[in-house]
Amino acid sequence: MKEKYWKKNIMYLRVLLTIWFISSFGFGILFAESLNNFYLGGFPLGFWFAQQGSIYIFVILIFVYVYLMNKLDKKHNLEE
């Protein structure tokens, strides 16, 4: 039972940290130059990810994680 909880936790981390990596190191740095050919209003897209978008995504990721883990705690009866 507890093992399942931990495995699920690790799976959440994998998915969320992949998004974390792609939105910052990926869109904000490695692919930023190609993304700069597209625009979001006045922002070249790569530049937007590097100076705005990645930060918004970071905040969302943490709140999603909190939501998922609170649900998982409840399911496995591990709430404090």
Binding site: G28, F43, Q51, I55, F58, V59, M69, N70, E79
Partner: protein, 555 residues
């Protein structure tokens, strides 16, 4: 009423507020002194963490650096926010469950070794001390530039205030003053930004205005690109391919360093439950992101304003603020071709204007003609940012000495009362030492901050992550990993930083990585060495495996 009046008034009000909070929140036990009693509400802790984290550099210097680097400044924006995702997902909840007072505490217990604890405690003190000297310098600078108080007296006033609330209240006093300081600094940062955004684009939200059209119908960033190209600079939003690898590694070092900085990690010991630690990291980043998404907007608005004001304008036509800032040395005009006109261009042979990064935030209200109270607000905000970070760092130094060194190493039988006194005395000594170092700041303070992040990334981060996620990680692995990580990173920085006496040349950088980014490599080395050594040496004791098992579950 002029700017001077407003500055005195606002700084006076905010300082009285901090002192009032300190008297109200005195610490009565070591638990209150170290972790504020452990009952802080997650939103309050998030706010305190945000103030703890955002230093004089975030408030005063960052927007200016971005202003001059354009896209290149992104490494600071992503680097100093992305670490919170790692903190929230991989560190904070488990360390909260572990439930002790300090980071060396965790390292010492998890790796069942006084040596590991000692290495961690030396790192914690070194990292925190280098960082705190920079904050003291920020306080002195803010006072001397705006209040016409000598730099030294400014530092002494700063020390006195921090001394008062840190010695009295410990973590409890620091937490509540940090909440007040967050409110002051975020208000002080966003108000001028809203003004700037309205002036430039008619949109009150800087994050949106930044990507909007200016009043003449051209997108602000496009305008900035055109202006930059006209003056011979790279386009503001363009990505310089040759430095991209370095941007990647610097971003990494800042992120992993953030997640390994003891003064940030200990904040998560102050909330009651594991779920509070998780959500608290979310609130912290939300509060931080308000400043971090506004800063690049301020950078762009300020750059356009500056170019429009000074470029190809007559020196004699310059407004008052230009002369004022010239007197401080932050702005220097050298009329090379003696035509009385300011040439601000990329070509250093022709360029006549030298601008300090800090001016973009400090002089913004004057450049944009904002009301005088905004100037006072900026000063109060800068001081709040410097003092809140300084207090958090000083607490780490004091707990490392009174708890990790004295209680856990030298005299385990010390009474609760004795330990509390030891904590008070060591924070008092730390405040004074930091102040003295701030009075005679070594010229390389800024350079040493790179070292602080590099060391945090290459020492604590891997040791904590492996301590939680790898049951097989033993003391041999962790200690050898920490040592190789720290030694590699420190030597690389010392060798390649001319300010620290290094003789290395940038051409010889490993994979083109500058000292600021080498912490990422140090971290990878730490991980690899730890994993290899741990698999070749004695397995972890069962008792420790049970400890790891227990921190993985909230109940």
């Amino acid at each position: 009423m002029d700017a001077q009046f407003w500055t005195y008034t606002l700084v006076g009000i905010t300082f009285s507020l901090y002192i009032g909070i300190a008297i109200w929140s005195r610490a009565k036990s070591t638990k209150e002194f170290y972790i504020a009693g452990g009952g802080i509400h997650p939103v309050i802790n998030g706010m305190a963490t945000a103030a703890d984290w955002m230093s004089a550099a975030s408030f005063i210097s960052m927007a200016g650096i971005i202003s001059f680097l354009g896209y290149g400044g992104s490494q600071y924006l992503m680097g100093w926010t992305g670490g919170y995702v790692l903190l929230a997902l991989c560190l904070a909840p488990y360390l909260r469950k572990f439930g002790k007072f300090t980071v060396p505490d965790f390292i010492g217990e998890r790796y069942y070794s006084q040596n590991a604890r000692t290495i961690a405690l030396i790192c914690a003190i070194f990292v925190s001390f280098t960082y705190v000297v920079g904050q003291m310098k920020g306080v002195g600078v803010a006072f001397s530039r705006f209040l016409e108080i000598p730099y030294d007296s400014g530092v002494i006033i700063g020390i006195a205030i921090v001394f008062f609330y840190a010695v009295l209240g410990g973590m409890k006093g620091i937490t509540y003053t940090q909440v007040a300081q967050y409110c002051v600094l975020i208000f002080a940062f966003t108000v001028p930004a809203i003004y700037l955004s309205l002036q430039a684009t008619g949109n009150p939200i800087p994050q949106v205005g930044f990507g909007s059209k200016t009043l003449d119908g051209v997108y602000l960033l496009e305008k900035l690109n055109l202006l930059s190209v006209d003056l011979g600079f790279d386009k503001y939003t363009d990505i310089n391919r040759t430095t991209l690898i370095n941007v990647f590694f610097i971003t990494g070092a800042l992120m992993f360093g953030t997640a390994g900085l003891p003064h940030v990690i200990v904040r998560f010991f102050t909330v009651p439950k594991v779920r509070d630690a998780r959500i608290s990291a979310g609130w912290a980043l939300l509060f931080i992101s308000i400043l971090y998404t506004t800063a690049p907007a301020v950078a762009a608005f300020a750059k356009v304003n500056l170019i429009n004001t000074v470029s190809n304008a007559k020196y004699t036509d310059m407004p008052d603020w230009f002369k004022n800032w010239e007197n401080t040395g932050l702005l220097q005009f050298d009329d090379k071709n003696a035509d009385g006109i300011i040439q601000y261009v990329a070509d250093t042979q022709v360029n006549e204007l030298t601008i300090d990064n800090d001016i973009m935030v400090l002089a913004n209200p004057e450049i944009a003609n904002l009301p005088p109270w905004v100037i006072g607000l900026i000063v109060a905000g800068g001081l709040a940012a410097a003092l809140s970070t300084a207090a958090g760092l000083l607490l780490v130094i004091s707990t490392s000495i009174s708890h990790d060194l004295l209680k856990k190493n030298i005299n385990p039988n010390i009474s609760e009362k004795g330990e509390l006194w030891a904590a008070r005395i060591s924070i008092a000594v730390a405040v004074v030492a930091a102040g003295l170092a701030g009075l005679n700041p070594p010229g390389f303070v800024a350079e040493v901050v790179a070292l602080a992040f590099g060391l945090a990334a290459s020492s604590f981060f891997p040791a904590i992550i492996l301590g939680i996620f790898d049951k097989k990680m033993n003391k041999e692995g962790a200690i050898s990993g920490m040592l190789t990580g720290i030694i590699f990173t420190a030597l690389y920085i010392l060798y390649f930083k001319p300010q620290l006496g290094g003789s290395g040349l940038p051409e010889n950088y490993l994979f083109g990585i500058s000292p600021e980014g080498i912490g990422t490599i140090g971290m990878i080395i730490n991980f690899i060495v730890s994993l290899i050594v741990s698999r070749l040496t004695k397995p972890t004791p069962e008792k420790i495996k049970d400890l790891v098992e227990s921190i993985r579950y909230p109940k």
